[in-house]
Amino acid sequence: MARVITVAVVDDDRMLRDGLRAWLGDVPDLRLVATAATVGELLADPSPHRPDGPHGTAPPQADVVLLDLVLRDGSDPSDNIRRVLRTGSRVLMISTVPDRSRIIEAIRAGADGYLTKDHDLPTLVAAVKDLAEGRGAHSTELAFACAYDDSPARPRLSPRERQILLDYASGMTLKSAARRAGITVHTAKDYLDRVKAKYQQAGRPTYTKLDLALRVREDSLDGG
């Protein structure tokens, strides 16, 4: 893939934003185009937060937004995710502690992946690339949250989906989990994608036109 993937970071911790900037600065195929403390700040961005590139022009659209699960401005995580998704970016959630009910909420709201912040750079880069290329990003912590989701609204999983989910959640690679289940890696990944899709489907809200108009107005108000 020769194309450079554009990335934005929304996190209320400045140290973490700076850290990611330094980290991603060394990755050839990725370009960090914006960092912000809140989603409102990211969407309003008249470009003061852009780490590089010529000032004054509109920032390029980020392919993938790394979004902190819980922001200090008290904004609703699901709301944050939906606002970012409406801009056309895909959302990779990150957080310090795997707070399971919130992870589930985030996936329901349409986030495409979830990672805790203690992963090494290659894992993070791999997840970002997966998302940018339209594949689903998977992680043990996300699989664990889904596998042990005991909320009443959890979707029904088939026994096969459940087994792959549990094995992957235990830390096995997808390849080993597939071997254990006697299926191909490709099928195993399909199962994980399907589990995530079930969550996203269950959480998809049915917007009315009025709702959408309100959201657009909210966004532009934040921006002003």
Partner: protein, 396 residues
Amino acid sequence: MVLALQSLPLRRIRALRATTSVRSGTHRAQSFLIVATLLYRGSHLTVAVMAVAHRPWHLPLQHLGLAAALGMSALVYGTALRRGWFDPRHIWADVVVTGCVLPLALCAWGGVREPPTIAWAMLLGGSASATAAIALDRLHALAVVALLVVTHLIGYQAVDATPAVIVGHLNSLVSSAVMTYAFRWYLLRQGRLLDEANARALEAEAHKARYAERLEHHRALHDTVLATLTTLAAGAVDANAPEVRQRCAREAAYLRRLIQQTADEVPHREIGAALEEAVGSVESLGLRVTAQYHALPAVPPEVAAALGHAVREALNNVRRHAGTGHAYLTATGDPDGSGGAVVTVVDRGPGFDPARCEPGLGLRGSVHGRMTEAGGRATVDTAPGEGVRVELRWPA
């Protein structure tokens, strides 16, 4: 880093709770009331037996009546002693049979027309009203006393008893009921007060235990995270030095596990504490452990110890053979909700061929052995190039 998450006071509270739940104050008051009314009925039955046995006239109905009274008493008090309290239906049956039918039947067909010959049957009405007053609700108890008074009035009038005998007897019927009712009221109130005092003491003890636990956590945090942060803040060390970063990562992992373990509303610390020790021991040797816990069940201490031991062996195996420096640990309640536990230790190293390669002594001896001993089971799943997955299950 190694931290015993279960503190002693918590264990003591559990033991205390176990003993008090068996015999609460209310329960004791009820047991006492059963025994007291049983003795009262016993005294009446003694009189009845002597009366029937020593009378010169041997009338079959008297024997039959006595047998019925003994049978009803056995039913009422036997059940109460077995179940812990009276069955209202038995009380009503006793009142009707021994309290009403028996004296009336003796009057009608007993062939005797003198007050002393039915006195023993009348006497049983006293203990019937006493028991009804404590075992039935107020309205039913009043109905029972009224019914007994009317029946006994009719019975004594049928044998031409003197007013003094009648009034004396009716007085004893009513006062038996009033007395036991008052006893019950007082004893249950005392029992409740005792229970409340006990609950308060338990709550205080639990509070103290939580405080001790928090202190323990604080001490652990003080020795690890706080010390590291303070040193870094002082600028005395190079934050980028590999050993400093390693230490930071280790302590961050510890905080993550701590948060997961204390997330459950009713935390059972046995497994968590055992695993924490195992993780701590290998972390200090340089193995990175990603741990995820969910709804850890309460297990006997020897099971927690076996799980801890097996996990330590499995983690050591990862450290020695996987070559990745990274292990994944999960511990959860059995998904089928049976109260069991499932623990997995996984690595993404080279694995081995289970058909050709004897698993190391660690896996075979320590992991399998310890789990089997504790009534659990260990399964090793691996293939060349695919890491090793050790699953521990309890019960097997």
